[in-house]
């Protein structure tokens, strides 16, 4: 908690109240034998207008954390505790109708696969308009006009025709742009994006990524962006939080974390990035696979795969501590890491 307080106070000098703050978030799903923890004590804070990338591999809990921000998990039967505050109000304590006003209105959400995330039997325009009508109480006609403007914002050509299209009639890139338009339709103060470019081709991915970056900066929207791709993170993040086995293991400024990783996991990840040719070098490897969340090892959950593990790693689960200003790491031996090993080698 004091780490959190520190981040809040340092986050952005002029704006003391964070757009988003998460404290002690725990999420568990019902598994074969009892509850399986998926997110284990996540603390986060994000100032207005900033973008934070949650970086992690499959099963690290990054998407679950994102969904927790608008309280989607409880309805899915998950056990959630901890505090999630958006604009100062605790989401987990909200009444159902308050939650409806938060979602889509104050917080926009973009999903990974626009093909399945859009209703296949409704026209794109209607799906955007219904959000606007719901939150702004405008007429349908006005809402459609707004949708039309949003299509210009996300640079969809032939907007009139595309508004009347069904999702399967659009290409992947256009679908994701429409999804962004929908998320932005009520001019939210916080945007949540769950791997929004992963399903797209490289040349389209960069377009959507830069569009999102531009809109976010122009409108001053705070954004939490989930990805597994270091390159994508480097393009869009002000801050990066690296997740492993349901925990944030490293957090800080994007350049700090990506170029000067202090946690052995982040370090290994940057080392795994495929570069150069096989003729020149062997790829750095991270042995093994993430742990089964239902049967976590004692101590640091990364320890079994860690190249730098020592005896105490199997005993103590490390807390996050600063290694530099605005750079936290949850590792007992973070200080042992050689500094400035950019790129991993």
């Amino acid at each position: 908690m004091n780490a959190l307080a520190r981040i809040i106070s340092e986050g952005s000098g002029a704006a003391p109240s964070p757009m988003l703050s998460i404290a002690g978030l725990n999420v568990a799903y019902r598994g074969g034998a009892g509850w399986t923890p998926v997110v284990r004590g996540v603390d986060l804070a994000l100032a207005p207008g900033r973008s934070l990338v949650l970086l992690g591999e499959s099963g690290s809990g990054k998407s679950v954390t994102l969904r927790a921000i608008i309280g989607l998990l409880r309805e899915e039967g998950a056990r959630v505790d901890g505090e999630v505050r958006v604009g100062g109000r605790d989401v987990n304590a909200m009444a159902p109708d308050e939650l409806l006003k938060l979602r889509g209105n104050e917080v926009g959400f973009i999903f990974q696969e626009p093909m399945t995330a859009l209703d296949p039997v409704f026209r794109i325009g209607d799906q955007i308009a219904e959000t606007i009508v719901q939150h702004r109480g405008t007429s349908w006609r006005q809402a459609m006009a707004t949708a039309r403007e949003l299509f210009d914002l996300v640079q969809i050509p032939s907007a009139e025709r595309r508004l009347k299209a069904y999702p399967n009639e659009l290409s992947g890139g256009l679908r994701q742009r429409a999804m962004i338009a929908m998320a932005m339709s009520c001019d939210p103060r916080l945007l949540l994006a769950d791997e929004p470019t992963t399903a797209l081709d490289a040349t389209v991915q960069i377009q959507v990524l830069l569009l999102l970056r531009e809109i976010q900066k122009e409108r001053g929207t705070a954004m939490v962006f989930v990805t597994h791709d270091l390159g994508v993170a480097a393009e869009i993040a002000d801050e990066v939080a690296v997740m492993y086995a349901g925990r944030i293991v490293e957090q800080g400024d994007a350049a700090q974390v990506l170029l000067n990783p202090s946690h052995p996991y982040t370090h290994a990840l940057t080392g795994c990035v495929v570069q150069g040719s096989y003729r020149d070098h062997r790829l750095g490897e991270l042995a093994g696979a993430p742990p089964d969340l239902a049967q976590l090892p004692p101590g640091c959950s990364f320890a079994p795969r860690c190249a730098r593990r020592q005896e105490d790693c199997r005993l103590t689960d490390p807390a996050r501590r600063p290694v530099a200003p605005r750079h936290d790491v949850a590792c007992l031996h973070a200080a042992d890491l050689p500094a400035g090993t950019a790129g991993g080698r």
């Binding site: 991915q205 830069l210 390159g231 096989y278 490897e285």
Partner: protein, 360 residues
């Protein structure tokens, strides 16, 4: 655990080399495949030209990478070469002998020369078979007695880094994605092929596992003197593993060169855009503007002439008129081929080099 392929007693004989070291292992010529979509009222006219006039040569011990975005026909190309999807036209010659033509089928014995590894590691394994059963299937199909094939299967597991004592009797559902992909590689190698076609083998894996599998592939190629056709949308991966690279766009090859050449000096505007779309990993050196706008066009109605011209930053009138041939790029000469009017001397494109005669 210390079992390696070279030390292993394989129950199947290796496929003899016939053509000698300078004979290319695989030559694919003029492969063509159309997919008919919904039929019209009287027979369909909606046709997707999935692969249009693809030619490919793989030398012995070489890895050829095929790069392209979804729908460019790279996976279809893989299945055509392997002879799973019947081609409309073209032929494949393997080590100097015809592998298939549109009229001939491949016999079972020669078929084992080319094997594949697919992207989806889960649907690549029969959920009702244990790993031993899966790995023993191919050898048994080639007449190896079941008991021998099963022992061999355990050795194979060990050779790809999965201790048989713990993995032999498992079912695919009990494995992680990376482990499944190791099994898929072992399965493909079980009947001792000479060419492995890898269709996006690491795309579905986590980054940390991706490196493990790539290292395994590099080591195996060395050890077994294999050749690879490696298909991926990921430039970095192809760059790492391939000796030569083929870039595809909407069913056609737009550029072909050695890995070093193409990454040092890409000639086709699409290849250049593809490279420029790759994030840098450095937050201080971000991409300022996207190199291309829009999505790839619908392969049902590809643009006339050069198929890339609708998104090409340097398209001119000549590009709409005719399809540019895949020809040697002027300065580099040997081995670097590009299908772009801007690189063809005397094509009429304003950026085209002047014809050779005029130069001298």
């Amino acid at each position: 655990m210390s079992v390696t392929f070279s030390a292993m007693q394989a129950p199947l004989p290796p496929i003899e080399d016939r053509g000698g070291p300078s004979q290319p292992l695989l030559i694919a010529r003029g492969l063509r495949k159309e997919f008919r979509l919904a039929d019209g009222l009287f027979g369909g006219r909606t046709v997707v030209h999935a692969v249009d006039d693809l030619s490919l040569t793989v030398n012995k011990g070489e890895t050829v990478g095929i790069v392209g975005e979804s729908g460019c026909g790279k996976s279809t190309a893989a299945r055509l070469i392997a002879g799973i999807t019947p081609a409309d036209d073209g032929e494949v010659v393997f080590d100097g002998e015809s592998f298939w033509t549109p009229r001939t089928r491949i016999d079972a014995e020669r078929r084992r020369a080319i094997q594949m590894v697919f992207q989806d590691s889960a649907s690549s394994l029969n959920p009702r078979m244990t790993l031993t059963e899966t790995l023993a299937f191919g050898p048994r199909a080639h007449g190896v007695p079941t008991a021998v094939a099963r022992t061999y299967a355990r050795d194979l597991l060990a050779a790809v880094g999965l201790p048989p004592s713990r993995f032999a009797e498992r079912y695919p559902i009990q494995l992680s994605g990376g482990q499944r992909q190791r099994v898929n590689i072992a399965r493909a190698l079980a009947i001792r092929p000479r060419l492995l076609i890898l269709d996006e083998p690491v795309s579905a894996l986590d980054k940390s596992v991706e490196a493990q599998v790539l290292n395994l592939l590099v080591a195996l190629r060395e050890e077994l003197s294999l050749s690879y056709v490696f298909i991926s949308h990921d430039l970095n991966v192809v760059r790492y593993i391939a000796d030569r690279v083929v870039v595809m766009y909407l069913g056609q090859v737009v550029e072909e060169a050695t890995s070093a050449q193409i990454f040092a000096a890409p000639r086709h505007p699409y290849t250049r855009a593809l490279f420029a779309s790759k994030p840098s990993l450095d937050p201080r050196r971000r991409i300022e503007a996207p190199p291309l706008t829009g999505d790839p066009p619908d392969p049902v109605n590809p643009p006339s002439g050069c198929r890339f011209r609708t998104r090409c930053p340097i398209a001119e009138a000549v590009c709409a008129a005719a399809k540019p041939p895949l020809a040697a790029a002027a300065p580099e000469g040997e081995g670097h081929k590009v299908a772009c009017w801007a690189a063809q001397p005397g094509s009429g494109h304003s950026l085209a080099p002047r014809p050779m005669g005029a130069l001298q």
